[in-house]
Structures are given as structure tokens and as C-alpha cells.
Amino acid sequence: MSPSPTQRSAPPTRDAVAPDAVDLPTGPAAAAILAAGIGCLVLGAFALAGDASPTVGRLLTVYRPTGPLSGVTLGAIIIWLVVWYGLSRLWSGKRVAMGGVNLAAFLSLALGALLTFPPFMDLLQGK
């Protein structure tokens, strides 16, 4: 049986099924983006602190077989999630200027990446 003319000519209903094509407040995205940048920065800062100071390195050793890396990673994850939660509460349903948020997030990300780079770590420690 051939399809009816209506079935044959039906256009794809792409826009009709698009789920979120409305203007949403930027707050939730801003919170997630800035928190991710801060999480990466904290990870880099903890990595440097653990490398530079044996005392901090011991404090960061929450799981002995992994050593200071355990505290660096778990600490950064906890701070990232807490910051995300806090910013989400603060900016929930609000319109946040994304220019400043992106700048802060990108700077945090770049600095965090630099702090994980061993030659840069050594440079900061005067090694």
C-alpha cells in the first residue's frame, strides 16, 4: 500500500521537537563554567603546594598508596563541587554577564594548567 499524499509530503518537524529553544537565564551556566575553572585552578595550586612543601604534602596524603596526589585530587573535587553549588544558589534564575565569568574561568583554567606543568612549578620554587 502506498503512503497517502499527506504522509509523503510531511516535512521534518525539527523545530517542533527542539527541547529548549527558549531564552534561559545564564546563571546556571555561569556557575558551572566558573566553578570548573576554579576547580582546575585549585587542583594546580594544591599540586604546587604539595610539591613545594613536605608538610603540605603529608597533609595532602589522605590515601597513603597514592600519596599527596590523593589529597590534591579529592580536595580539588570537593572545592569544585562546593563552589559550583554555592554559585548555583547565588545565580539561580539570574542573568549573569558572561563576559566577566568567561574571562575569570579562562584565566583560572590557564593558571591551573600552568601550575600543573612541572617546569613552571620548578620555576616558582626556584629549582
Binding site: 523545530d15 521537537v17 527542539a18 534561559l24 563554567i33 610539591d51 558572561m98 563576559g99
Partner: protein, 189 residues
């Protein structure tokens, strides 16, 4: 044919999880760019769901990979040999640091990899969340889109650095040992 438990888990970490993650990145980046800049139209519901599934899977895979690397493989890598031992084959970090021609693989390779790898799951979780939250509205939010794509690229680079150094480290000082798993007996061949 047999393999040690540590070899098997290292392969699972690097090739089973890490390599699959790296292979998925280019597809994800292309699709994310295409869908969020689709000429003023958002993705269809099905496209949105598929990419969200892909992004969530990648974020999950990235978390499993880094946790397995840091809490299962890394302790074997950094194990300290007992005093007086001369064969360092079972102590990869010490083996690398025992020679000036290989110490850089630890000092630069492992020291960088063990930290920067964590950028990938953090960034991917954010990317998946924002895509889930905004979906087709991303194409209207230029600055959010820019941040999402930037973090996705950084996640790719971080995973690439970790994966590449992981492959080299395992070549120069493989993590070996543990119980032996017989994959195939000589008789069955």
C-alpha cells in the same frame, strides 16, 4: 598466553578507557560545534539526546579513567623498593629515576600527567551539564557556547597529554606484577 593483573588493569585504564575517550573527543567536538551553531536552528530532540548521552558517557569514562589511574595504577607505579634491591623492574618510578636518560619521563611526564588529566573529567562534566541544561538554546548564547567549546578542547588536550605520556611511561617502565591470569592454555591452541 597469560597476563599479569597489573598489566591487564593498566591496559584497561589506558586503552580500554583512555583511548576510547580520546577517540570520542573529535566526534564530540564536531557535533557540539555543529549543533550549537546550526545556522539559527537548534538540534532536534533526538540529536540533543544522542549528544547528551555521548557527553555524559564521556564524562563518566573520564572519571573512571582518572580514579583508576590515581588509585589503582599509580600506587603500583610509585611503590618503594625494599632496601638493597637492585632489580627495579617491579618499581617503575624508581626504575625511571635511576637513569639520567629516563628520569625526565617521570619528572615531566608522570608529574604533569597525574595532575592535568583531572582537567578532563571536570571540564567534561561541566560541558555535559550545560548542554543538558541549555540544549538547543546554546546556539543563541554565544558566550556560553564559547566557554563550553573552550573547556571541551582543553579536556581533549588534557586527556591527550595524559594518554600520550601514559603510553610512553608504560613503554619505558611498565607496571607489572600481581597474580597471573591465564588467557589461553598452550593445549587449547
Amino acid at each position: 598466553m597469560e597476563i599479569s593483573l597489573r598489566d591487564l588493569l593498566t591496559v584497561l585504564h589506558g586503552i580500554g578507557f583512555g583511548a576510547i575517550l580520546l577517540l570520542a573527543f573529535p566526534v564530540m567536538l564536531v557535533e557540539l560545534t555543529r549543533m550549537s551553531t546550526a545556522g539559527g536552528r537548534g538540534p532536534s530532540r533526538r540529536e540533543h539526546q544522542l549528544l547528551l548521552l555521548c557527553l555524559s558517557g564521556m564524562a563518566g569514562l573520564a572519571w573512571v579513567t582518572v580514579f583508576m589511574g590515581a588509585y589503582v595504577i599509580y600506587p603500583w607505579y610509585r611503590a618503594k623498593p625494599p632496601a638493597g634491591i637492585t632489580d627495579l623492574a617491579g618499581y617503575p618510578q624508581r626504575l625511571l629515576m635511576s637513569s639520567p636518560t629516563t628520569t625526565g619521563w617521570h619528572d615531566l611526564g608522570m608529574e604533569w600527567k597525574e595532575h592535568v588529566a583531572w582537567f578532563a573529567p571536570i571540564a567534561l562534566t561541566m560541558v555535559a551539564y550545560v548542554f543538558a541544561k541549555y540544549g538547543s538554546a546554546l546556539f543563541k548564547q554565544r558566550q556560553i557556547r564559547a566557554a563550553v567549546l573552550t573547556f571541551a578542547v582543553v579536556a581533549f588536550l588534557a586527556a591527550g597529554v595524559a594518554g600520550a605520556f601514559g603510553a610512553f611511561l608504560n613503554k619505558f617502565a611498565p607496571v607489572r606484577g600481581g597474580s597471573i591470569i591465564q588467557i589461553m592454555s598452550e593445549k587449547s591452541r
